[in-house]
């Protein structure tokens, strides 16, 4: 049965690629696939080998136990974190054509893709009996731990409006503990990180933990314990790692830096506008505040060093209605101005394509145009070039979910290296 997609007409992939001849067509494609989602044909599903490909994923925001591929990777190494959920736009279709797995759009082959390969630890079990894939999830070059799988901003209904963490947790809480076991984490890390060539980064994130002697102290304590447990398997004091957490104060940041091997820090501000921050992220606004969030990001640069601190935004959520910007031009200008304020103080901004998540307050909204996302990626990459900011900590092969840092692959912040 044909599905009617209720979206206004907008330029398609080919037109946008032609409009931006100096922007990687792979990155534009990735962005559009994330924006529109995918579905798999029977042939594409038959091409999945669960002994080789990653199909399972358990994290604080994603729960996946079907046999479809977890995600895709393009020929240039660009990862695509795909969504198979409902989408108001027609999805791309993954198919098999002439023996190759390809992305198609309306029957036309667009580009060859590969399914993500499964890390070896995925088939192993901890001493306590937990499948290791439920302790840590994987991306092509990154291992992910979500030590706390709920978010306390949702306890009082103050969670972020695009977020489905609470809905995901509540749907799966019979099988999903709020906290991961520390020994399970340490054991999984020891097994997983020993796979030669598999991982370039250890990644931690989870929901906010507001409790403690001082606001967020329990969250800081949790991450310190987890990082120390992971660090038991690793030699150097600092190892390639990233934490996305709530915006901690200087005392908390210093503890994190001094007591663990953590090498980079991210506190996602989600939307770069004070009024919209208050509307979209009411809990963060009430407990910490927009200006204080920014101030703490800048303070983190003094502790972790330039190039080791960034913030993430949910790209496009600034256009959510009825209180978002009235036009994409207005949203882009305001977002890049705020991102420049941060960049000038050593804080990089990266974005994720807003995947309008079922179960979120914003589930009936529509994400912006592909043109908007390309301009946002180009704009954020340009700011890093202007302020000589490295994005090694969050580049294409670590998170792989930021079109703007994908674009940063072809330049280096340090001049004069041949």
């Amino acid at each position: 049965m044909a599905v009617a997609y209720a979206v206004p007409p907008e330029p398609g992939l080919d037109e946008i690629i032609a409009r931006y001849p100096l922007v990687s067509p792979f990155v534009i494609l990735k962005t559009d696939v994330q924006r529109r989602g995918v579905r798999y044909t029977a042939a594409a599903q038959a091409a999945v080998d669960p002994s080789l490909h990653q199909v399972l994923y358990q994290g604080f925001s994603i729960e996946k136990q079907d046999q479809n591929p977890m995600s895709l990777i393009l020929r240039d190494g660009t990862s695509i974190l795909i969504s198979e959920g409902p989408n108001r736009r027609p999805p791309y279709v993954v198919d098999v054509v002439d023996g190759k797995t390809v992305l198609t759009d309306q029957g036309r082959v667009i580009e060859e893709v590969e399914y993500w390969h499964k890390p070896a630890y995925y088939d192993q079990t901890t001493t306590s009996g937990k499948p290791m894939w439920t302790v840590a999830a994987a991306r092509p070059q990154r291992i992910d731990f979500n030590p706390y799988q709920y978010c306390q901003f949702w306890t009082n209904g103050q969670g972020c409006k695009y977020c489905n963490i609470a809905a995901n947790f509540n749907q799966n809480k019979d099988q999903k503990p709020a906290f991961l076991d520390l020994e399970d984490i340490a054991e999984t890390a020891r097994v997983a990180l020993g796979q030669p060539g598999r991982f370039t980064s250890v990644f931690l994130t989870g929901g906010s933990l507001l409790s403690g002697a001082e606001l967020l102290d329990d969250e800081v304590d949790l991450y310190i314990r987890v990082l120390q447990a992971i660090g038991r398997s690793l030699n150097p004091e600092k190892f390639p790692s990233q934490l996305i957490a709530t915006a901690f104060n200087e005392r908390q940041l210093a503890r994190l830096y001094e007591q663990t091997g953590l090498s980079s820090y991210t506190a996602d501000i989600e939307v770069l506008n004070e009024d919209l921050f208050g509307w979209i992220c009411p809990g963060k606004a009430k407990k910490i505040g927009y200006r204080e969030w920014k101030r703490r990001l800048v303070a983190a640069v003094d502790i972790f060093g330039p190039g080791n601190v960034n913030t993430g935004i949910v790209g496009g959520v600034e256009l959510a209605q009825p209180r978002g910007f009235p036009s994409e031009a207005d949203a882009l200008k305001a977002t890049l101005e705020e991102a420049e304020d941060l960049a000038s103080q050593g804080v990089s901004t990266v974005y994720c394509v807003w995947n309008v998540a079922p179960g979120s307050v914003f589930q009936d909204q529509l994400s912006p145009s592909l043109d908007y996302y390309v301009q946002l990626a180009v704009g954020l990459d340009a700011l890093r070039r202007k302020y000589n900011l490295s994005i090694d900590m969050d580049n294409y092969r670590r998170c792989g979910n930021h079109p703007d840092s994908d674009l940063s692959r072809v330049w280096q912040p340090v001049a004069g290296t041949l």
Partner: protein, 157 residues
């Protein structure tokens, strides 16, 4: 369009004493040449090599090439001075997966404590024999006017 390499080039690619140079160009248009000892032909007729350094100019330029279908060149110089140039297009960057991990293990076994960024695959689009003797003979044959006249002066009555 893909070009199948002749057996002579495939043999040179396998020879341990062949010098293999990779020429790339990036967004700034500045040519960049490095030596790629790991460069080999794979079973599909493509050229495969490892780039160890993620942030190298070569890696950036190859990324630029695969994004915008910009050609690269590979020059081979054999111990006996035979030389070939191969033109090609980067078609695949393995940054993870079984092939990448095998290459990672092999290179570390051979080179010690090194990292590996990417296993690149280049599809040949053409090749030319650049051996000096061959090029000189071709120039004499095909461009008889492109010579200095003193070479025509009689040396004896």
């Amino acid at each position: 369009m893909a070009s199948r390499l002749p057996p002579e080039i495939l043999t040179l690619l396998e020879a341990p004493d062949t010098v293999k140079a990779l020429g790339t160009v990036g967004p700034d248009g500045v040519p960049h040449v490095t030596y790629k000892g790991s460069l080999r032909a794979d079973g599909a007729g493509n050229l495969v090599f490892a780039e160890l350094i993620e942030a190298s100019t070569t890696n950036r330029n190859l990324t630029w090439s695969i994004w915008f279908r910009k050609p690269v060149t590979i020059t081979l110089l054999a111990a006996d001075r035979r030389s070939f140039q191969i033109h090609g297009l980067p078609v695949k960057a393995h940054v993870s997966g079984p092939l990448f991990e095998k290459c990672y293990r092999d290179l570390r076994a051979r080179l010690g404590d090194v990292d590996v960024s990417t296993v690149w695959v280049v599809e040949p689009t053409g090749w030319a024999d650049e051996t000096p003797a061959v090029r000189l003979a071709a120039a004499e044959r095909d461009h008889p006017l492109l010579k200095h006249v003193d070479r025509f002066v009689k040396t004896s009555e």
